[in-house]
């Protein structure tokens, strides 16, 4: 569980290294403050909204302030680990999800607007969706949708909301004529390493103790990241003469995303196939689709997380096998087309709901306080204008 906590800082450096020198603190701060805010929101009411049993839109409110959430395992979620531990584990999911979005509106969102938007988003988008898919009484869960470690709830959910935000906040100044160069790629690699490391906790931990499942998740997670990273490197090699570090890291993250919903249901060999296609689809989304439609999804949250998440969720419908996880189901390639359909429904519902509600919330925030910083502030950078700090000293 502790591992999962490292993912948010990991993400912070993954993103932070890719932005301009004048905006790196903006990224780090946004990730860091989410770690603070959502940790508190979660124990106050978020966990209850998401996981307290209830057939409705949200879970019930009986677990507010962790009331009744003790050490005794809550068998419907995890028979073997203390309820509070499960709660913490889920908290990390609730933190990383909004953090993923940061990449889309990077370098131009006002911090105050960011804070308000994120609290609203977690409450009105993340919590309900989490409830539907994972909560006792959640209707997608009852439908039989499989989401091992958050492909739908986390990645598609965040990815599509990010897509919305990128479109409506508009392009970065300077992004029109040229690429904004990553100011510190080693930080991006460091972040990737921490993400990869944390993801083991993310996926293996999602087996909630069941030993064999954890091992399988561990193996396929590593395999998928590796295969996807390699795939992207090769694609770069083919289309841009040289394999790039940023590309390899991006691919690896894409592979981790794609395997997330499938980690507990597929074999290592299937993982390789899933990973290869994950990279290919993301590669197309990032290098072909994005420029074509010209939205400025600054750090490709949509291209990597949404696309990867969708593919992963559907792939689960294709490659899932009872041989791996008896508690799971068989996918198309194992003679059960129905699962694929259910997965598709879950994906569709999440996309539709998340996009619409996120948009509404965004518009509210934008009207109330303008979501985007002024042009002058954008030129000076978020670090100085939003946080009154410089990331690095230039002369000493």
């Amino acid at each position: 569980t502790a591992l999962v906590m490292l993912m948010t800082p990991g993400l912070a450096f993954f993103y932070g290294g890719m932005v301009g020198r004048k905006n790196v603190l903006g990224i780090l701060m946004q990730c860091f403050i989410l770690l603070c805010v959502i940790s508190v929101q979660w124990i106050l009411y978020g966990y209850s909204l998401s996981f307290a049993p209830g057939k409705g839109f949200w879970g019930s409110l009986e677990w507010i302030g962790l009331k009744g959430v003790g050490f005794a395992p809550y068998k419907d979620y995890a028979a073997t680990i203390p309820h509070q531990l499960f709660m913490m584990f889920q908290a990390m999911f609730a933190i990383i999800t909004p953090a993923l979005m940061i990449g889309a509106f990077a370098e131009r969102m006002k911090f105050s607007a960011f804070m308000v938007f994120m609290v609203l988003w977690t409450t009105f988008v993340y919590d309900p969706v989490a409830h539907w898919v994972w909560g006792v009484g959640g209707w997608l869960k009852d439908l039989g949708a499989l989401d091992f470690a958050g492909g739908t709830v986390v990645h598609i959910n965040a990815g599509i909301a990010a897509f919305m935000a990128a479109i409506f906040i508009g392009k970065r100044k300077g992004a029109e004529n040229k690429a904004i160069l990553p100011h510190n790629l080693p930080f991006t690699i460091l972040g990737t390493a921490l993400l990869w490391f944390g993801w083991f906790g993310f996926n293996a931990g999602s087996s909630l103790g069941a030993n064999e499942l954890a091992v399988n998740a561990f193996v396929v997670t590593n395999t998928a990241a590796a295969a996807a990273g390699l795939t992207w490197a090769i694609l770069d090699w083919i289309f841009h003469e040289k394999p790039t570090v940023l590309g390899t890291a991006t691919g690896a993250v894409g592979g981790l995303v794609a395997i997330t919903p499938a980690a507990g249901f597929v074999s290592a060999m299937s993982a390789i196939v899933i990973a290869i296609f994950a990279s290919i689809f993301s590669y197309i989304a990032v290098t072909v689709v994005k420029p074509k439609f010209g939205y400025d999804d600054a750090l490709d949250v949509f291209g990597v997380h949404c696309i990867g998440g969708i593919w992963g969720a559907l792939a689960t419908g294709l490659f899932a096998s009872k041989a791996i996880n008896p508690a799971g189901a068989d996918g198309l390639f194992f003679g059960n087309p129905k699962l694929l359909l259910i997965q598709a429904i879950a994906v569709g519902v999440t996309i539709a709901y998340s996009f619409v509600v996120s948009l509404i919330l965004y518009k509210i925030v934008d009207v109330l306080m303008r979501a985007r910083v002024s042009e002058k502030d954008e030129n000076l950078g978020l670090d100085l204008t939003q946080h009154h700090e410089n990331a690095y000293t230039m002369i000493e």
Binding site: K22, G174, N379, L384, E389, M394, I395
Partner: protein, 113 residues
């Protein structure tokens, strides 16, 4: 021959480069500097200690040109760098006594381009 030194806003660099190429001024040397001018800096705060950040990031261009290129170069810089707002920067022009191309050792105006 003249040595033209221009201090501009970082975000204008691309525009200035474009204009310079249009004016067929292709050889330039660029560096990052901090400038203190009319434009006010942003206060920084570190653990409650206020720091009057009176130095702002600027880009410094160094361009050696022959007389005939001086005005076109200036115009190009003005075109690219001017926003009309405080902080746009300055252009300084110095007389260049001699210019040598290291590769060929040729001197004078011919070595500039």
């Amino acid at each position: 021959m003249k040595l033209i030194i221009a201090i501009i806003k970082p975000e204008r660099l691309d525009a200035v480069k474009k204009e310079l190429y249009k004016a067929e001024v292709n050889l330039i040397t660029v560096s990052e500097v901090l400038g203190h001018g009319r434009q006010m800096g942003v206060t920084e705060v570190y653990r409650g200690v206020k720091e009057m950040g009176n130095l702002l990031r600027k880009i410094r261009l160094e361009i050696a040109v022959n007389e005939s290129y001086v005005e076109p170069t200036i115009d190009a810089i003005l075109k690219g760098a001017q926003t009309g707002q405080i902080g746009d920067g300055k252009i300084f022009i110095l007389d260049l006594a001699e210019c040598i191309r290291i590769r060929t050792e040729e001197r004078g105006g011919g070595a500039i381009g």
